[in-house]
Structure formats: structure tokens, C-alpha cells
């Protein structure tokens, strides 16, 4: 160090900074460790927070559901074994708690929605990923994303004021509030989800597979149907399951357009009520916080939770089973 010529200010300042640099880690080691520990702690807190929220939601659901089944008017057998749902006091001779009256509504709307969203979403994804010229693709993708950004209440009004009259015009049997109209709107809502996720899955298939298919003399259609879609299957199935879960949980559209008549029917022209629709309606009209109708909300919510949980688990199984690794 002393070899540096004295009086050269540039060299002196350089020397100083080198010295500082060499000293720094030694001087701040404890501080660095502390900082690392704090960051580590914060990250763990974030992770635990989501865990805590989930656990407390499940806990509340389960404990309130248990309270619901403690009422004399309801048994587990009549809850899962009946399709007659009329929890309001004053309607009918007795209160009925057959959850299938609501589950069937949810399943009907979800089925109708998926009849639209799944094929349409997958085909659009294939077009965008395999067929569309880059310019078209760049124009279409943002439009799809706009569709995903529309508030669901708008879809609900669209169903009630546009889809329903259109259905009634085509066929007189449709009621003003009906499952089809809500189903179609939910389908439109889920379509961008399916399309965007399926497209990502298709894009992730390595080009070597496409080249291989063409090399063997396959057409674009052969390559797509026989090679690329099967290769992307696990991603496509995940997209489908996510869309189904979204449709089951959708609330605003069904509350506005599907009606409030809980009944087990396969007729898509009729007014029904879904699980989420029931919850939205009942929460909105002041019910007592201590009577059975209030606790029935939790029982329905818990059933809904079980349904989506099952879907997620099936999703994981399917993903593991169909997973194809190409690296």
C-alpha cells in the first residue's frame, strides 16, 4: 500500500475505497446476518399468513356446520339425501334442508357453461398457438384478456337483458330466470381462462416435436391432433379443471339471471338456484344470526368447499398421471 506514490489524489481515493470495501463485510457481518434473518422471517410470515387464512376459514366452516347439524330440524341424512331446499321460516309447512336442491342447480349451470367454454376455449387456443399468423395472434390475445376483465355483474345483466330474451325468442319455453342463460354467461366468463391456459400449455410443447411430426409427412392437423395436444394434455386438463372450479364458485351471474327457485331439475329452461346464488340472496336479506337458516349458509358453503377441494385433488392426480417431460 505504501508503494503508491504520495500526493496522487486519484490513487489515494481509490486506495481508500478498496480498503473500505475490504473492511465492509467484516464490520457488518452481524448486521447482514440480522437482515437475512428478518427477510427470512417476513417471508415465512407471508407463507404462514395464507396458511392461517385457509385454516381459519376451514375451521369456521366446520364449526358452524356442526352447529347447523345440532338443530333438531335437520339431520345429516335429510341434508345429503333430499333435494327439497326451503330453509325459510314461513315458506311451506316445514323447513326443508335437502342440499341436492342447490347442488343440482350448481351442476346444471356448470355443465351448460362448460359445454360452451371448454370446446370453444380449446379450439381457440389451438388456433392461436398453431394456426394463427403472428399478427392475428397479437391482436386476438389482448381482446381475450379484456373479456376476462369484465366485472361479473355486467355478465349477469347481459344474461338477463340480452341472452334470456334471445333464448325466449328462439324457444317459448324459457322462463325469465333460467339456468341456460346464466350457464351461457358463465361459459363466456370462463372461456378466456380456458383459452389462455390451454394456449400456454400448447406453446410449451417443444418445436422439435412439431418438426418431427412434419418430418414424418404429417399435415398440420395431424401434428396438432396426434402429437401436440396429447403432449400438452396435462396443462389442458388443468385449464379445464380451473374453469370448472371457477364456474362452480361464480356468484353474481347466477344470482342475477338463474332465479331463486331451488329445485332438482334437468330442464335447462327452468328457474333454479345454485349454492352460491342461495348464499348471496340469504346474506343480502337480514336473517337472524342465531336461527337455522343462518347456519344453513355454512353447511352449503362447506359442501361447496368440499366440491372444489375434490376438483383440485383430481386436478393434481391428473397432472401427475399425464405429465410428459421433454427435457
Amino acid at each position: 500500500m505504501s508503494s503508491v506514490a504520495a500526493g496522487d489524489p486519484e490513487m489515494e481515493s481509490l486506495e481508500k475505497s478498496v480498503e473500505q470495501f475490504l473492511q465492509k463485510p467484516r464490520k457488518n457481518l452481524a448486521l447482514v446476518r440480522l437482515r437475512e434473518a428478518i427477510v427470512f422471517f417476513l417471508l415465512i410470515c407471508c407463507g404462514l399468513f395464507s396458511l392461517l387464512v385457509t385454516v381459519s376459514i376451514v375451521f369456521v366452516l366446520i364449526s358452524e356446520t356442526i352447529t347447523f347439524f345440532d338443530f333438531d330440524a335437520v339431520t345429516l341424512g335429510s341434508f345429503v339425501g333430499s333435494a327439497k331446499w326451503s330453509p325459510q321460516e314461513g315458506l311451506g309447512d316445514t323447513q326443508n334442508f335437502g342440499v341436492w336442491g342447490l347442488i343440482s342447480g350448481t351442476l346444471l349451470v356448470t355443465t351448460i357453461a362448460m359445454c360452451f367454454a371448454l370446446p370453444l376455449g380449446l379450439i381457440t387456443a389451438i388456433y392461436l398457438s398453431e394456426y394463427a399468423p403472428r399478427k392475428v395472434r397479437n391482436a386476438l390475445k389482448p381482446i381475450l384478456e379484456i373479456l376476462a376483465g369484465i366485472p361479473t355483474v355486467v355478465y349477469g345483466f347481459f344474461a338477463l337483458t340480452t341472452i334470456t330474451p334471445l333464448l325466449q325468442w328462439m324457444h317459448g319455453g324459457f322462463e325469465i330466470y333460467n339456468a341456460t342463460s346464466a350457464g351461457i354467461a358463465v361459459g363466456i366468463l370462463c372461456f378466456p381462462t380456458v383459452c389462455s391456459l390451454a394456449e400456454d400449455a400448447l406453446q410449451a410443447v417443444p418445436n422439435s416435436l412439431r418438426d418431427g411430426a412434419f418430418g414424418l409427412g404429417g399435415t398440420k392437423f395431424d401434428a396438432t391432433v396426434k402429437i401436440i395436444v396429447p403432449a400438452a394434455l396435462s396443462g389442458i386438463v388443468s385449464a379445464f379443471l380451473l374453469a370448472i372450479a371457477r364456474a362452480i364458485g361464480e356468484t353474481m351471474i347466477v344470482a342475477l339471471a338463474a332465479g331463486s327457485t331451488p329445485q332438482a331439475t334437468l330442464d335447462p329452461r327452468e328457474s333454479i338456484q345454485t349454492m352460491t346464488g342461495f348464499m348471496a340472496q340469504t346474506v343480502g336479506g337480514d336473517i337472524s344470526n342465531f336461527d337455522i337458516e343462518y347456519y344453513s349458509l355454512y353447511a352449503v358453503a362447506f359442501s361447496l368447499f368440499l366440491m372444489t377441494l375434490t376438483l383440485t385433488m383430481i386436478g393434481n392426480l391428473v397432472r401427475r398421471k399425464f405429465r410428459e417431460a421433454y427435457e
Binding site: Q88, L91, T164, I176, G285, D286
Partner: protein, 335 residues
């Protein structure tokens, strides 16, 4: 939870009020109102007109249904509760327990109106018995042909107010009695506009709600004349028939309940005075019918004499019923 409703009679509200030479900006405060969706149009009109004179008083009018409104009122959560039926004994006791005293104020008559689709050409009138067939579990008529011979074999779709509403309570008591029950396969909603949309969109449907919602949607719905059991004549809900009581059994008084403690606040005092003074006019503007002058004078006597309590329960907590002029008398007051 309460939902504010904006879609009711905006034109009437905009029509304005011709008094108020000068605005009073000194009076400030907040008034919390909640309760019946049937009374809502009157209270909302009162609030809107009042605000023209007193712009610095904030008035929130909620629509939780009569039962929901009383739930908040009886714990002191609101200053005024809109009610389309008198207070029940359970609600009265709840208020007493919490030390809530209140003034009972009838504000207008309502004709609970049965409505069908505009193009329904078979329902010309209904008797009370036929209404029972349609709406009760005992009657349980699934098609119109089961209600009266010669009517089409089409399924009846029913749209009814939520079970928490005073309209539902009143209708249930008249049609099904104390022990009977209304059908459980009806579509119910706390939101009267959902019912209007439902009936106006279903050719074979029937529904019911306060006459104001019919008046506001006259072009989409048809009101059904109801046969008066005493006269054996069909009567349509009009201001005349509702006021003179011939539209029976579906004409009823509407109330606001004023928390006595809130009434000591100047802004609440001023608002209630304004409400009372203009009640006949507000009622007429919102599609309801004014009460006889005598009743409004009685109401003023209650406030003057600080006489709180209800007229519609006896000392034994039995329900008192009858014409407003007869029930709403000082000798019937219970607190």
C-alpha cells in the same frame, strides 16, 4: 346487510318540491333509516325533498325489509325504522329490553297488489279462495286450470317478496292465516324489482308487492282486481278503493317508527316534522294513499305529549287490528 335501491320513481323525485325559499345550511347531522322496501319510496322521497331545504343533513335510507329494519332499530342502530306492518310483540320486547322508546307513526295506506303478465288474458279477477288455492300449501294449485275451470292448463309461476318483509307477513296472515303456510316452491326476493322483472317476463306468472311498485311499472304488468268478501264485487287497487277500505282484505297502513332518543336531536325533529307535514303529498307522489287527516293530527298529539309506544299490541301482547282511525287512539297506547 342493507341494499340501497335507486331505481324507484326517479321521475317523481326529480319533479321537485315547490317550497323552500331559502336553504338552511346551519342544520347538520346524520339520520339513519332502514326497513321495509314498501315504505322505502316514501322515506326516500321525504329525504330527497328534505335535503333540498337542508343540504347538510345526511339521510341514509336502507332496504332490509321490515323485520331486518326492526332488528337494527330495537338495538338502537337506526333513528327511524320503515315498517309495512305494526311492530311485533317479539320486537317490542327486544326494544324494551334495550331501553329503546319509540313513537309509532302511520304515514300512508298501501294496497298490496297482485300482478300478472301484461298479456295474461284469462285472469280477470280473483276471489280470496282462489288466491288461497294459488299461494298456500293447502291449496297448492300447480296450474291455472286448477284455480278456476276454463283457465288454461299452464303452470303457475309465483314471485313473492322475501320472508323477512312486512309485505310477506301481511299477505301470509291474510291468505294463510296464523297456522297456515305459503308454498315453498315460489321464487322469493327481498328486491321488488326482481319480482317486477320476473312477472313481466313470464306469461303465466303471478306475484304481489306494494301498489307503488305496480304504479311505477304499470306498462309492464297487469293488476288483478280482488273480490271484496263483504261486497262480493271485484275491486281494483286505486287511491279511492284503498282509502275507503273497499279494496279488502289487502289494504293496510304503512308506518315509520321514530326512536324517542333520536327525536331529541334537532335534525331528526325537523325531518320527522317535515315528513309528517308532507306525508299526504309524499304518499300520493309515490303511488300510495294518504291517511285521513284525523290520523295525522293524532300523530302530532303523540309527539306533543311525548307518548311513546305502540297501538297495535294489547297489554297482554296480543295483536290489535282494525281500521287505522280506530286502532290509533291514545287509549290503545301500550309502552
Amino acid at each position: 346487510m342493507m341494499a340501497l335501491r335507486f331505481a324507484v320513481l326517479p321521475a317523481l323525485l326529480l319533479a321537485g318540491y315547490s317550497v323552500a325559499p331559502a336553504q338552511n345550511k346551519q342544520l347538520r347531522g346524520e339520520i339513519e333509516i332502514d326497513g321495509s322496501s314498501t315504505v322505502y319510496p316514501i322515506s326516500e322521497a321525504a329525504a330527497a325533498t328534505f335535503n333540498k331545504d337542508f343540504p347538510n343533513v345526511t339521510i341514509n335510507v336502507g332496504v332490509s325489509g321490515t323485520g331486518g329494519g326492526f332488528k337494527r332499530f330495537t338495538v338502537g342502530g337506526t333513528d327511524i325504522s320503515d315498517a309495512s306492518r305494526p311492530i311485533k310483540d317479539s320486537e317490542f320486547k327486544a326494544a324494551k329490553e334495550k331501553g329503546i322508546q319509540f313513537y309509532e307513526v302511520p304515514v300512508a295506506y298501501d294496497g298490496l297488489t297482485l300482478v300478472v303478465h301484461k298479456e295474461n288474458d284469462w285472469v280477470d279477477q280473483l276471489t280470496v279462495d282462489e288466491i288461497k288455492k294459488i299461494f298456500t300449501t293447502a291449496g297448492n294449485a300447480k296450474t291455472w286450470s286448477q284455480v278456476r275451470e276454463g283457465w288454461p292448463n299452464r303452470e303457475i309461476k309465483i314471485f313473492a317478496p322475501g320472508t323477512d318483509s312486512g309485505t310477506f307477513d301481511y299477505f301470509k296472515e291474510v291468505v294463510a292465516g296464523k297456522t297456515g303456510a305459503l308454498r315453498d316452491d315460489m321464487s322469493t326476493s327481498e328486491n321488488d324489482n326482481v319480482l317486477v322483472t320476473g312477472v313481466s317476463g313470464s306469461p303465466a306468472a303471478i306475484g304481489f308487492f306494494g301498489v307503488a311498485y305496480y304504479e311505477a311499472n304499470k306498462d309492464k304488468l297487469k293488476a288483478v282486481p280482488v273480490v271484496n268478501p263483504a261486497l262480493s264485487e271485484p275491486v281494483s287497487p286505486t287511491p279511492t278503493t284503498i282509502e275507503n277500505g273497499t279494496y279488502a282484505p289487502f289494504s293496510r297502513p304503512l308506518f315509520i317508527y321514530v326512536n324517542a332518543k333520536s327525536f331529541t336531536r334537532p335534525e331528526v325533529r325537523k325531518f320527522v316534522a317535515f315528513y309528517l307535514q308532507n306525508a299526504p303529498d309524499l304518499a300520493a307522489r309515490t303511488g300510495y294513499v294518504a291517511l285521513p287527516k284525523k290520523v295525522y293530527e293524532e300523530v302530532i298529539n303523540r309527539f306533543r305529549g311525548r307518548q311513546t309506544g305502540t297501538h297495535y299490541l294489547t297489554d297482554e301482547m296480543e295483536k290489535r287490528s282494525g281500521a287505522v282511525e280506530e286502532v290509533y287512539q291514545a287509549k290503545n297506547l301500550v309502552n
